[in-house]
Amino acid sequence: MGMTWITRLAAGARVPVFIAMGDGAPAAALTLSRHPGLSVVDTPRAASILLVAGQMPDALIPYLHRLHDQLPHPRATLLWQSPPIPSLPDAIAVDADDDIGRAVADVFAAVLEGKRASAPDILPDAPPSEWRGVGPHGQGGKGMMGGTPYGRPMAMTDDDIRDRLALDSYTAAFGPFLPFFPPGLVLTLTLQGDVIQKVVVTHPPFDHDGSPLATLLNLLGLPALATRSLGDRADDPVLRRLIQLSGARFAIPSGLGRLPDGSDVRTRFDRMTGAAPDAASQDAGDTTLEHLLVGLEWHAAMLVLCSLDPATLRDICKNSDTGDQDETQGESESEMHAGHMS
């Protein structure tokens, strides 16, 4: 296929990259948003390149498959300091000493120009459950709410923990590849509206540091300051001043996400920005994620999750309900494996 003027124009764009953080991801992956040739995006729908940084544990491979297939064509996958993944035979390996910007730009140009085929789906082209021609109306439904209309069941009612209104409750596995989730963490959340009703830790976070200050600033709607906080200046007085002016402290409700050691999101944020002295470490005690997140609205819950330092979060996850994994994930996992074997 010939290269149209529009493709030529597109080839000069900043390459939209979605990062899937694995275990032991290279430190440079955290500061990739500062790279002039790339733009790190929040959703796979906006990305052309899927960048797998670090090693992906087996338990997360089905999640990676689902993520991989959500990118629009043209797309390609890069494995950055990651061992090969059998289900991704076309993925390009990038070593520690390679220039990641160069590698991404080369693959992007090749795919856009048609010199390299856009990566095909890993999962089979079949709906979550078969619905065509099923049921009295042929849409998979049964009765008022039953069956699997268009491939999935409808949400069912449950009592809300706050006001006991019986509206629909929605359950899904969130993460691990949400940009604001601590790397590796998968939570199966039950929501009513945007308030969390139930938390189950489906996969614990990895044992390495993320960039909590940048994530928190992003969650507070300050992406430019987040990028600035990733810079190499150890103590940046301008950053401190701008964070102060932004009202970020005021935006965080006081008492949110309080731990047994008395710290809340605001005090932990102060420690990160250097406005308060660093405490030795946070003390999780026997706090569980349930204590911290249940009853919170989505934005507040994400602020709590990202304010915890990695070690504390791991302790809290150990205390928390890890659910009966076979019940929620086992089924879809076996389905996935069957899918990419064929």
């Binding site: 529009i6 493709t7 124009l9 597109a10 000069g12 764009a13 900043r14 939209p16 500062r34 002039p36 929040d42 959703t43 729908r45 906006a46 052309s48 959500q70 629009p72 064509h73 043209p74 856009l112 709906p127 209309p149 268009y150 491939g151 999935r152 929605y170 899904a172 949400l178 940009p179 604001f180 929501l191 509206g193 945007d194 992003n218 969650l219 507070l220 709607g221 300050l222 992406p223 430019a224 300051l225 990028t227 600035r228 810079g231 301008v238 701008l242 002016l245 932004s246 009202g247 970020a248 005021f250 935006a251 965080i252 409700p253 609205e297 989505w298 934005h299 507040a300 994400m302 602020l303």
Partner: protein, 302 residues
């Protein structure tokens, strides 16, 4: 003549959409300490989005997905057509143009909601519902501020509101007006501290599922809305087309860009709070402030 005006406004809209992206990236680069982007950056990203595949979700609401983008754009264009370019020139010359603009502003809540509703996806839907909680009360606030601006003009016609500012701009006459009105701008264009629809804590909120041309359409509509809002703020508070030496349309264009810069700067420098906190802030503090603005304007007008 009218045709020429239409063409002129379309050219202005395109330029200002491009300028808005450039300003946005410049602002971001300056704050993050990375420096500016290439000037053709926005155009190239647009081309990339056009090149990408347009994805749909499981059992989406196709009609409303299309209508939300078209509707957002149509509301921006309608608002822009209401902006007076001279004593008698406005594409839509209504004696009640403030009322029509108020209606457009209210419908923005509907189209943003539909944008989050149509993909049948959880993060988009949370963004949609959450936006309504802030979009409704912030609209009240802006209407009080607009009515206050209409008092000295004794008219609901934007052209009269401009002429009433011949001696002194509403910016000075009603000092609370523009700051409160800018908050509405942030909310209408889903930006910074009022971005409860397309925010980072939902990985893009109502646009989390948008790819390719749909993403491009939504972003262009957002920027068109930013242009429209800025032009409206310039008309109501900065004396619109009034100004010495230069022709009227040039003045309104310059003032529009000034307001736009303000909105973009604010959106990068002010933090966003959780939605319930913002809801309390609007009802308990900002809305009473807008009452004060109205009473202040009333006393001054007498």
């Amino acid at each position: 003549m009218t045709l020429l005006t239409v063409l002129g406004m379309l050219v202005f809209l395109c330029t200002s959409v491009w300028l808005a992206v450039a300003l946005d990236t410049a602002c971001r680069g300056w704050i993050s300490g990375q420096g500016a982007d290439r000037a053709d950056g926005p155009l190239r990203t647009a081309a990339l989005w056009l090149t990408q595949q347009r994805l749909t979700t499981e059992a989406p609401d196709r009609m409303n997905a299309l209508l939300s983008i078209a509707g957002y754009m149509a509301l921006a264009l309608t608002g822009l057509a209401l902006v007076p370019l001279g004593p008698d020139t406005a594409l839509i010359a209504l004696p009640t143009s403030v009322v029509l603009w108020g209606a457009c502003e209210a419908l923005v809540v509907v189209v943003v909601f539909l944008h989050g509703w149509s993909p049948n996806a959880p993060l988009a839907m949370i963004g949609a519902y959450r936006y309504v909680a802030i979009g409704l009360p912030i609209m009240l606030l802006s209407m009080f501020v607009l009515i206050a601006a209409a008092l000295p003009a004794q008219s609901l016609d934007l052209r009269d509101i401009v002429t009433s500012q011949a001696d002194v701009w509403n910016l000075i006459r009603q000092p609370l007006g523009l700051p409160l009105f800018l908050l509405l701008g942030l909310s209408l264009t889903l930006r910074g501290p009022f971005d409860y629809a397309d925010s980072a804590d939902l990985a893009g909120g109502t646009s989390v599922e948008a790819s390719g041309p749909d993403r491009l359409g939504w972003q262009i509509a957002r920027l068109a809305m930013l242009t429209e809002f800025s032009a409206m703020a310039a008309t109501v508070f900065l004396g619109g087309y009034l100004g010495p030496v230069l022709p009227g349309p040039l003045w309104i264009a310059l003032k529009t860009l000034l307001v736009m810069t303000l909105v973009i700067g604010l959106s990068h420098l002010a933090a966003r709070m959780p939605v319930s906190r913002m809801m309390s802030l609007i009802w308990m503090i900002l809305l009473p402030l807008s009452f004060a603005d109205l009473i202040w304007a009333g006393l001054v007008a007498l």
